[in-house]
Amino acid sequence: MSDQVGTITWISGPVVRARGSRHVGMLELVEVGADHLVGEVIGLKGDQMTIQVYEETAGMQTGAPIYGTGLPLSVELGPGLIQSIYDGVQRPLPLIEQAMGSFINRGAHFDSISREKKWKFTPKVKVGDAVKGGAVLGVVMETETFEHRVMLNPDDHGTITWVAPVGEYTVADPIAKLKMGKEEKTVTMLQRWPVRRARPFTNRRPANIPLITGQRILDTFFPVAKGGAAGIPGPFGSGKTVTQHSIAKWADAEIIVYIGCGERGNEMTEVLQEFPHLVDPRTGRPLMERTVLIANTSNMPVAAREASIYTGITIAEYYRDMGYHVALMADSTSRWAEALREVSGRLEEMPAEEGYPAYLAGRLAEFYERAGYVNNLNDTQGSVSIVGAVSPPGGDFSEPVTQHTKRFIRCFWALDKSLASARHFPAINWLDSYSEYLEDVGAWWREKTGKDWLTMRNRAMELLSEESRLSQIVKLVGPDALPYTERMVLETTRLIREGLLQQNATETVDAFSSVEKQIRMLELVLYFHERGMAIVKRGAPINLIHDLPVVDTIIRAKSTVTNEELHKFDDIQKQIDQQMGQLDAEYRS
């Protein structure tokens, strides 16, 4: 399948030029040099083609051959993706390790999906059925609990002429035959899909169900909807990766695609070693059984880093097409943008801001627009939610990647270095962050918890912004100068900050808060505030409120009350009633 189509004339890092452009197409996958390194055609001019190479080019010579494949850069889709760990161009890292040892060598060629493993296929169509693209032909249990729906390629349609009976098949075995016009086509469980082309769907649905992450600052204060897009920008050390890991662990999606894009090797290893031992609270199965990992660490070839984002999103869309909710984490999109910049620089393109190519914004938009809650071609509904980390140089949010990202997301979780320095985690600044999904998901909360979440949430935000104003005054004149009513606000916001917003990802009880626990905690803090305020207004000194033993109890509730023991909050509320009641009685007269 691969014939020589050209010869190399120029090499500089990951960019190679070659003669022979007549024989290849734009964005075609090619093999470069005698080692058959993977590359992609990114420019054609006269007889010259420009190729970005996904592997290290050291040692390559001019005059070396280029082989064409006739295919665009694609991923393999089918059962066996779950629990895999791939590099940026979907090569399975465990197989590379088996074949080459601990270090990644060049020229590795492996099937992304095992051709040997057999899956138990159960057909869902019969001979004579007319099927269109995306139709579910049958199902396979990909893990013990996950049903993989084998779909017809979205571009195909026709009439079923043969379907395999229930049985064990590999992804290469025929499972159906289809009459398309005049020709008959054999269908397997394996599909190839070009990574740079979004998989089609029927139409978009409104995104009005929150993606529950178990993180209070996110779910309660800045929710993202299923099918939405969120950005987490922050300087180094502010906890982007920890937040991404927490979402990957606890988000209520059926599939998680985690892209480690130009980040640390040890972090990917942490995920690999930890996820098989963590249990998904919803299915009771290891978290790894819903996870696909793409690891293109910072020292792996830079062009493959550029591709990794597309590889990940295409896999996410494939599971969405089956009717599942998929959450995709990209850590970090800045490294992906830098890969674009590096390749653009080697091509000597005219730079726009800070050396980034002018098409940066366009590429970011294309990526984030692949998120969505949709009606699929096969009449199921599924979603892809994107959570993209951004690493602004120097923590300066005015840089191009952060600014352009803000245009294409609707939920912004701004990480703050000073909060991180005080070990307030997650270090998401509540005054700089926003979510445009608040109104959209309000109805869901009401239905789920029976409580008016949005009003309570807005009340808490009001107090927090009041605190920010008051703390300006405190910085100038000290807290004693404030009236008791205002100091009551500071007491309550301390409870909100330490009891609600701070969450310890490493502590078993605190790591995940159910929606019910979150709303109950919010309710309790606001209740404390209303009661306290009434007493203070009658003239009780603020330190009496500050010294109430229940204050400490409320702050510690996040790690003392588990998701199953919510009745304990009733006890805490009783303590508030009792302790405040005494004060109330004293100052009533």
Binding site: T9, W10, I11, S12, T57, G59, M60, Q61, T62, G63, L93, I96, E97, G101, S102, F103, I104, N105, F236, G237, G260, G262, R264, G265, N266, M268, T269, E270, L272, S298, N299, V302, E338, R341, E342, G345, E348, P351, E354, G355, S391, P393, G394, G395, D396, A420, S421, A422, R423, H424, V474, K475, V477, G478, P479, T506, D547, D552, I555, R556
Partner: protein, 475 residues
């Protein structure tokens, strides 16, 4: 790591263009990208270089020792047909090399048939072992609140005139495999040390050499020296040569290796210089757009792999120009490394050693190397509590500078007292003081006991009952 035989390749006489350390050579055939060349000037002097770009009939070459004395006609360039390799052997410990890996201590070439590519190869993430064993450095600000693990990369961010060299020397001298608090201590000779100097003054290199000699570690140290007056372009190779040896020692000889790289800022400048001469599009402050990937290609050569008991731990030192932590060098380093130890100018003025600015410092891997069965159960929460209290101290100090200390509330007064004691007793320790982990924990609890117990919301009530010794311990 592959073995190569260096063959005499083709030779080209005369170069087409010379610009700074960059040469353009025409007429070579079958030149490989990243190939090593030997450059001979008209007087027969040899220097080495590397191919940066190849086109049809020409190659762009970077001369490591610069281009001084080279002429258009009289220069001969010989292509060696391989990428840059250095010999690696256990015998290299105890030896001193130049920035390209040639011995400069008067001794012979290392006797080995093992040559390794200085660029190394990326470790497959699936082949790594996640770091979990902590290294006791005997320094409270590191062991207590920014714990270093075997296989971690933890840089020192410093500034001109601050004692980063002393701190690095102290870490190297005292480093031993961490034990559970209370377990008997062992004197560690567990680490081999690979030291790389890029563009530092001779005094600094000498300081480290003396310090290694005094602690008796010299036989376990391999030094790669590119000093301030050595060719800047060589600096691109120095850390890679050092890491290549470290990888051999760690992954083939199963040793635990500590790598000290100083000063990465000089490395960055050398990289910028070459990028500049080549006319590449700069990103921030003139540094090339690939600075992140380039730094990562070195920092990521840290860690542990499943097939070896050894490990590589990196302590890069970098001086922040103008103490600016947002400068591209510290900034991009911080994004790649697993935390950072930041030295603070104010603490240094106050005579506190080591002047570790605790709040901006961080060890990302700390959480996985401490706590129950590793140091002590309360350690993680104790650390968070110290951080939170010291952060609050900064707010109180700001307030006190406006309204005066007398006007502060009782609680705030106690925070001030805590802050002072924290800096004098916890952060401050002598250059020779080697604190055990339980001593560090004990000092921390003593300081926390200055505060009212109600303020301690990060530690558990049980821990307060055991360790808290403050005035209101009873209630």
């Amino acid at each position: 790591m592959s073995e190569v035989t260096v063959q005499g390749g083709q030779e080209v006489v005369g170069v087409a263009r010379i610009e700074g350390p960059i040469l353009v050579v025409e007429g070579g055939t079958n030149v490989s990208y990243d190939e090593v060349v030997e450059i001979q000037d008209s007087r027969g002097q040899l220097r080495r270089g590397r191919v940066l770009e190849v086109g049809e009939g020409y190659a762009v070459i970077q001369a490591f020792a610069g281009s001084t004395g080279l002429s258009i006609d009289g220069t001969r360039v010989r292509f060696l047909g391989t990428t840059l390799h250095i010999p690696v052997a256990e015998e290299m410990l105890g030896r001193i090399f130049d920035g390209l890996g040639n011995p400069i201590d008067g001794g012979p070439e290392p006797l080995t048939d093992h040559y390794a590519d200085i660029n190394g190869q990326p470790i497959n993430p699936t082949a790594r072992i996640y770091p979990r064993d902590y290294i006791q450095t005997g320094i409270s600000t590191i062991d207590g609140v920014n714990t270093l693990l075997r296989g971690q990369k933890l840089p020192l961010f410093s500034g001109a005139g601050m004692p980063h060299d002393q701190l690095a020397a102290q870490i190297v001298r005292q480093a031993t495999l961490g034990k559970v608090a209370g377990a008997p201590q062992t004197e560690g000779e567990e680490f081999a040390i690979v030291f790389a100097a890029m563009g530092v003054k001779n005094d600094v290199a000498e300081y480290f050499r003396r310090s290694f000699t005094e602690s008796g570690a010299l036989t376990r140290v391999a030094m790669f020296l590119n000093l301030a007056d050595d060719p800047p372009v060589e600096r691109i190779v120095t850390p890679r040569a050092a890491l290549t040896l470290a990888e051999y020692l760690a992954y083939e000889r199963e040793m635990h290796v500590l790598v000290v790289l100083t000063d990465m800022t000089n490395y960055g400048e050398a990289l910028r210089q070459i990028s500049n001469v080549r006319g590449e599009v700069p990103s921030r402050k003139g540094y090339p757009g690939y600075l992140y990937s380039d730094l990562a290609s070195m920092y990521e050569r840290t860690g542990r792999i499943r097939t070896s008991k050894g490990s590589i731990t990196q302590i890069p030192i970098l001086t922040m120009p103008n103490d600016d932590i947002t400068h591209p060098m510290p900034d991009l380093t911080g994004y790649i490394t697993e935390g950072q130890i930041v030295l603070g100018r104010e603490l240094n003025f106050a005579g506190i050693y080591p002047p570790v600015a605790v709040l901006p410092s961080l060890s990302r891997l700390m959480k996985d190397g401490i706590g129950k069965n590793r140091t002590r159960d309360d350690h993680p929460r104790w650390g968070a509590q110290l951080y939170a209290a010291y952060a609050r101290t900064q707010d109180v100090r700001a307030l006190a500078s406006v309204i005066g200390e007398e006007e502060l509330s009782d609680v705030d007064q106690k925070y001030l007292k805590f802050g002072r004691a924290f800096e004098r007793e916890f952060v401050n320790q002598s250059f020779t003081e080697n604190r055990t982990i339980e001593r560090t924990l004990e000092i921390g609890w003593k300081l926390l006991s200055i505060l009212p117990r109600k303020e301690l919301t990060r530690v558990t009530l049980d821990e307060i009952a055991i360790y808290y010794k403050g005035d209101d311990a009873a209630n």
